[in-house]
Every structure is written in structure tokens, then in C-alpha cells.
Amino acid sequence: MSVKLTSRQVGDVTVIDAAGRITLGEGASRFRDMIRELAAKGNKNLLLNLAEVSYIDSSGIGELVSGFTTVTNNGGSLKLVGLSKRVKDLLQITKLYTVFDVYDDEAEAIRSFTRVAR
């Protein structure tokens, strides 16, 4: 199964709900397209909900990083919420925990954008 991505608006934050696998090929390119599209529309506060993501490979990790850079260069921020143990392990192995803002709770993640905006 490839990745399924849907977005919803919570106040000033665009939450992207991802489900499935973010891997080389369709999964990673769908993710890339969505981030670019949202960034181009001017959405600056992006929260990626990975709760339903079962697996991310190195290409998927590359797309997360690329999305982070795109959004940051655009004056916004991309944060992560709902990581499974597998995905947390990936961020530990790749040291990307030091790069991404990671939250366990969506409400807390949403509030963190408000704090920065003010």
C-alpha cells in the first residue's frame, strides 16, 4: 500500500494526515507534491500527522527533510505528530530528532504554532 494523504485546517494550522507507507516511488512523490502545493498556496504552519504511517524508507525520510527545508525557506514550519515507535526509531537513527519539532499530542502541537506566531 502506498501513502494516503489528506489535509484539514485547524485554525492557522494545516494538518496533513498521512496513512500507509512513505517509500521510494509513488509514496514519496505524492508527499513531495502535497508539501510543495501547500507551501505554494502560502500555508506556513504545517503539521504532519504520521499516526497511521507504518513505514518510511530512506527516500521517504529524504522527502520529510526536503519538505522541512521547503517550508522553512518559505518562512513557515513543518512539525510532526503521532509518531509510531518505528518512525521515532528512524528519527533517532538518522539524528533528525534534532531537526524536527516532534509532538505526541495534536492539540499541543497546534498550540506550539500559535506561540511562535505571536
Binding site: Y55, D57, S58, S59, I61, V65, I93, T94, K95, V99
Partner: protein, 151 residues
């Protein structure tokens, strides 16, 4: 299952399979499925099976994309050996060779935001042994070993 099975092999107490795969991304799924079947037979639990599958995917992607460069005339060779205490998977390509020491360290602060270069790091993290060496006859071979720890 796909792929061209070259046959079952038996070496003493080691059983396994040898498979030839095409140089395309479908082979990544095929290789994972074949290895997962063997990992299950060997008795690895679901989480360890996932780790072995993830390591195999990373190495097969490297073989297809960087080794064989999607060349339809080149194959990816998947050899699996299963004994009572470990699973070993060797993935070979017909590329122009590869020096793992020449890959930029993906954990160096300057490289953390690079888009690529993490495949071997992840594969290595998921198995007990990983070694890269030239493949006899040309290309690169990567051997992965996962030990079976019985509880």
C-alpha cells in the same frame, strides 16, 4: 511471487533460495516479500521481520538505482541463507562498483538536511552485520545477517 528463482540451495544445515530480479522498483517489493517469507520460516517475530524487510529494501533500492541504474540488461541477485540461528541475505548488482567509505556521513551536522544518503545507515541499523564487497564478475555485493535470538 515474481523474479526468476534459480533454485533452492542446501549447504549443510543452511537452507535458502537464489533469485534473479529485474532492475526496477517492483523488484524492491518482490525482494522484500521473498525475504520476509524466509524470515518468517526462520522464526523471527513480526517486528524483526519488519527490520529485515526494511534493510533489504534499502539495499535493493541501491542495487537497482545506483548499481544497475535501471538497466534492463542487468540483474539484481538475491541469495538467502537460513540456518537455525541466523538469516543471511546477499544482494548483488552488476554496476560499476561502490565504495561505502566514499559516501558522505549522513549524521554529520552539515549533512543532516541532505535529501539522500541514508540508505546504508538505515540498513546497517536494522541488522546485526552488514558488509559491502565487490561481486565476483563485477558489481557490488552487500551481505546482511540477522541473528535469531530465541526467547
Amino acid at each position: 511471487m515474481g523474479g526468476c528463482k534459480r533454485g533452492d540451495i542446501e549447504r549443510g544445515d543452511i537452507e535458502g533460495t537464489e533469485t534473479e530480479l529485474e532492475s526496477n522498483l517492483q523488484s524492491v517489493d518482490k525482494a522484500e516479500a521473498i525475504v520476509l517469507q524466509e524470515a518468517k520460516k526462520a522464526g523471527f517475530d513480526d517486528e524483526v521481520q519488519h527490520q529485515i524487510g526494511a534493510a533489504v529494501r534499502e539495499v535493493v533500492v541501491n542495487a537497482v538505482v545506483h548499481g544497475n541504474r535501471y538497466n534492463r540488461n542487468k540483474k539484481v541477485y538475491l541469495d538467502i541463507g537460513r540456518s537455525k540461528n541466523k538469516l543471511s541475505v546477499t544482494i548483488g548488482d552488476e554496476g560499476s562498483g561502490f565504495d561505502p567509505n566514499a559516501v558522505a556521513d549522513p549524521l554529520a551536522p552539515d549533512n543532516l538536511l541532505r535529501q539522500s544518503g541514508r540508505g546504508l545507515l538505515l540498513a546497517r541499523a536494522f541488522v546485526d552485520e552488514l558488509d559491502v564487497h565487490p561481486r565476483p564478475g563485477g558489481g557490488t555485493e552487500v551481505r546482511l545477517v540477522k541473528n535469531l535470538i530465541k526467547s
